[in-house]
Structures are given as C-alpha cells and as structure tokens.
Symmetry: C2
Subunit: 295 residues, 2 copies
C-alpha cells in the first residue's frame, strides 16, 4: 500500500498572500476583522481567530475596526460603503480575482453581454457581478444557458472553474452568437491542481481530497477525481475511517488551494496509522511522495 | 418515387447581386472582364461570356478594360495595382465577404493573432488574408491548428464554412489561449442552405447536390449530405445516370449558392425523365416541391 500526493496541492499564491497580509496586519493593529472568511478553510479561519483576526459576515458587525478584504474579493458597493464609513481597509483580494473583476467591467463597458461561468452564490462571483454594468448571466455549466441569441457576448470565469466546462459553454455559444470574446480567467493554480489531481486519480485506487467543504476549488477537485475513482472529500483527519482502505493498494491525496499544509500532514499521518505503520510519519508535505509545488 | 428540393437552394444574395452588377455593366461598357470567375459556376461564367463579360486570371490580361471584382473579393494589393494602373473598377464583392475582410483587418489591428477557418487556396481566403496585418494562420479544421499557445487569438471564417468546424476549432483553442475573440462570419445563406440540406438528406434515399465543382459552399453541402445518405455532386444534368435511381424512393435535391435556377430546373426535369415521366416537367424552381427561398 502506498500514499502519494498530487504534485500541485495545497495553498496557492493568492491564499498564501492573503494569510501573510492578515498575519502582518495582526501584528500592526488592534481589533481586526475580515468581511466573510478570508479563505474557504474553517480550520485556518479558526487559527486566525487565535491571532485576533475575526471573521464577520455583515458590514454592520465591523464596528469601526480595520477590515481585511477576503481573498475572494468583495462587492464594489460594499467597498464604497466601507470607504464612506471611513473604515481602514486592507485589501487581500487575490490579484487574479481582481483581474477578473477588471475584465468583467471592461467587457461590459465594451458592450458585451457578460456571461460568468461560476457559482452564483459564491462570494467571488457575487463580487465579480458587481463590477459588470447591466445584468450578467451566471451559469454553472452550458446546460444552464438561457434560450437566447447574442449579438456580442463576453465570457469570463470564476477563477476556480474547470476548463472543460468553459469549452462546453463556448462551443454552445458559437452558433448562438455573432461575436464572442472569451477571457480565460481560470487561474493557473486551479488548472495545475486539476491536472495533477486528474493524473493521480487515474493511477490510484482511492482518492482523498482535503479542503473546506465550502471551498469551490476543492469541491471541483473532488468532482474531477470522482470521474476516475472512489473519492472522499474531507476537511480534517478526524473524518477518516479505517474501512476506507480495505482492499486498497494505491492511495492518492490532493488538497485544495485553501488547505493549509499542517492539515495535509495530519491526514497523511492518519492514513499511515490506518495502514498500521507509525515510523513513516512525516512533518512536512514535502516528505509526501509526489509533491512538487508549481512555480 | 418523389423528388424534393432543400427549402433554401441556389443563388444567394451576394451571387445574385454580383450577376446583376455584371449584366448592368455589360450594357454600359465596351470590353469588360472579371478578374477570376465572378462566381464559382462554370456554366454561369460561360453564359456571361456570351454577354461580353470575360473572365481573366491575371492582372496582366486585363489590358486596360473595365474590371469587375468577383464576388469572392480580391487581394488588397491587387486592388491597389488596378487603381495605380487607372483601371475602371466595378466592385461585385459580396458585402458579407467585404465585412469579413473588415473584421480580419480590425482583429489584427487590435493585436489579435488572426486564425482563418477556411481553404487556404480559395480566392476568398487569399483576399481575406491580404487585409490582415502580420501572418494569419489558416486552417481547414481544428486538426490543422499548429501546436502553439496564444495570448490573444481572433477567429474569423470563410463565409461558406460549417458551424460545427467553427465550434470544434474554438473548443480546441480555449485551453490554449488567454483571450479569444470569435467573429462568426459564416453567412446566413450558407447556414440556412446547410441546415435545409441536412434536414432533407435525413429524409431522402439519395441526394443530388448541384453546383460548381470549384464551389466551396457547394462542396460543403455535398460533404454534409454524405454524412446521411448516398450523394452525387454534379454541375449539370448531363452527368446524371439512370442507374442511380434503381431502388430509390425519395430523391433530395439541393444546390449551392452559385448555382443558377436554369440548371436546377434542367436537373429536376432530367430526373423526372429518368423516372419515366415527361408530363411532370417544370419551368421554374418554384415548382419543385419543398423550395422556399430564405428571406
């Protein structure tokens, strides 16, 4: 029995950056909040609370405190309100998410009917939508496209979507549109995680996907992995059950872009324990066979 | 045994317009030439020669005569040369072809690497290419795409291509490109002819596609029809053989956008003759069951 990890797993650039910004701010200020969880990982959010960085869900709960804008960004109007209320803002929006907002705004200014490939209830998409002039159409996949013809249609994506869904959406729009502009805003960290998860899932008898149950990119990894092999999506090692590994030879691990290393290590060590070994426990993700962070 | 015609068949707007321009010019001027065949139908080109409108293949053969620009357009440089030589020019380029040239030029000016979906040896594509700054990539289908990644890629089509080929091309480009702009320049006359050919082919035991062997849109109709049923591509009624109709019940006819009505009528009457009937002969395409010109 062996355990390997997808070569690109865990924290991406935008998440690392947001956590760094938050921790640096914690040292500098008294009373800091994030408007919504800074990343979609409850364990990390709880750890930040230990450092005095609390997540509030509504602007009304900010109560004058310095406010960190979460990695997923925030609605244009909300940012305006915070400015109007003279709230000190620290912006930890992922630069790739900010760029997607810029693209959305520009497409709508250029007269394109904007279509967002994404989850309409996800904070990244809610924020993105606010930057678009006029009504954006939001679809989770090509099947959700409204029965319309388009003159000029502009497509952008939530940064954590799957390229296949974008391909299907664009293919369906070609005969319905006179002009299509597609900005592929799926971020590289998403793509490489999806690709390496696919590669590992194909070679494994069981996949364990680690990350927030509210994490869009982690859910997408689980969805992709399920196409190839039995897959469990867990947040922590406590969810692991011995019986999962009966008759299993090759175990694959992968972790979403908002999953901290310490959780991955805990999961690995728990699996090793389930396998009856204690000596092989590790202290760093770098010690799990297969791991290689993207450049 | 019955014979029906695809509801959109024969001359399109651009071809009708080009022939009208040529015939009007024939009355007005002495010594008129077209630079290349005005449309891709040898029989029609021969009929125009009877009216004193001759097709020459090279600028050198114009010999100072008034020159009609063919429906497929001409290279930018060639137009410039004719102007420099003070040749009187009558432009019969299809307006949809001209629009495609404008789109190609604009895409290249906007910094897009232009990809043309088309036949690199077709005069429409040769002309279109000349309006694009820098090197355009020309592919007949997605399989011909070079193994490259693109920053900004702009796609336009020869007006007579198939929407499925455009869909496949765009789908293949999505993961290879940061930004894609697709201008669907497949003209409506092409689309409706392809759709009604598909519909009729599905209901027929045999399809006869009428039009120039050098006609891109006619060849495409034959290719589409072949996916469903035995298909013959002919230029005139003289090619028809009695044995084609043995054991055949439902015969479908369709004609390319450059096929004149009189040829369609001759073909229909020849089929009726092969079927052993003489009384059912017709004088107009409107008398063939199924025909309905697009608006």
């Amino acid at each position: 029995m062996s355990v390997r990890i997808a070569k690109n797993s865990g924290f991406c650039f935008g998440v690392k950056r947001a956590i760094k910004i938050a921790l640096e701010a914690a040292g500098d200020h008294d009373g800091i909040v994030t408007l919504g969880p800074i990343i979609h990982n409850p364990q990390m959010v709880s750890k930040l609370a230990d450092e005095g960085i609390f997540s509030v869900n509504k602007s009304e709960d900010i109560d004058g405190r310095t406010t960190i804008i979460r990695s997923h960004g925030v609605k244009k109007e909300t940012l305006q309100e915070l400015n109007n209320d003279n709230i000190k803002i620290i912006n930890a929006t992922c630069p790739y998410v900010s760029k997607t907002q810029d693209h959305g705004q520009k497409l709508s200014e250029e007269g394109y009917q904007v279509i967002i490939l994404g989850d309409k209830d996800h904070p990244e998409v809610e924020a993105l939508k606010s930057y678009i002039q006029g009504d954006a159409v939001i679809v989770a996949n090509a099947d959700e496209l409204p029965d319309l013809k388009f003159n000029k249609v502009g497509i952008i994506c939530q940064t954590t979507r799957n390229i296949k869904d974008l391909q299907e959406l664009v293919q369906k729009l070609v005969p319905l549109s006179r002009e299509i502009k597609v900005i592929n805003t799926i971020c590289n960290a998403t793509s490489v995680r999806q690709e390496s998860t696919t590669a590992l899932a194909k070679e494994s008898d069981l996949m364990i996907v680690i990350g927030g149950k509210n994490s869009s990119n982690t859910k997408m990894l689980a969805k992709i992995s399920e196409n190839f092999v039995k897959t469990y999506h867990i947040e922590t090692s406590y969810e692991i059950e011995d019986k999962w590994f009966e008759g299993i030879d090759e175990i694959g691990l992968t972790a979403g872009a908002s999953t901290p290393d310490w959780i991955i290590v805990e999961v690995y060590n728990k699996i090793i324990e389930c396998m009856g070994s204690i000596e092989d426990k590790i202290e760093s993700v770098d010690d799990i066979p297969g791991f290689k962070e993207e450049k």
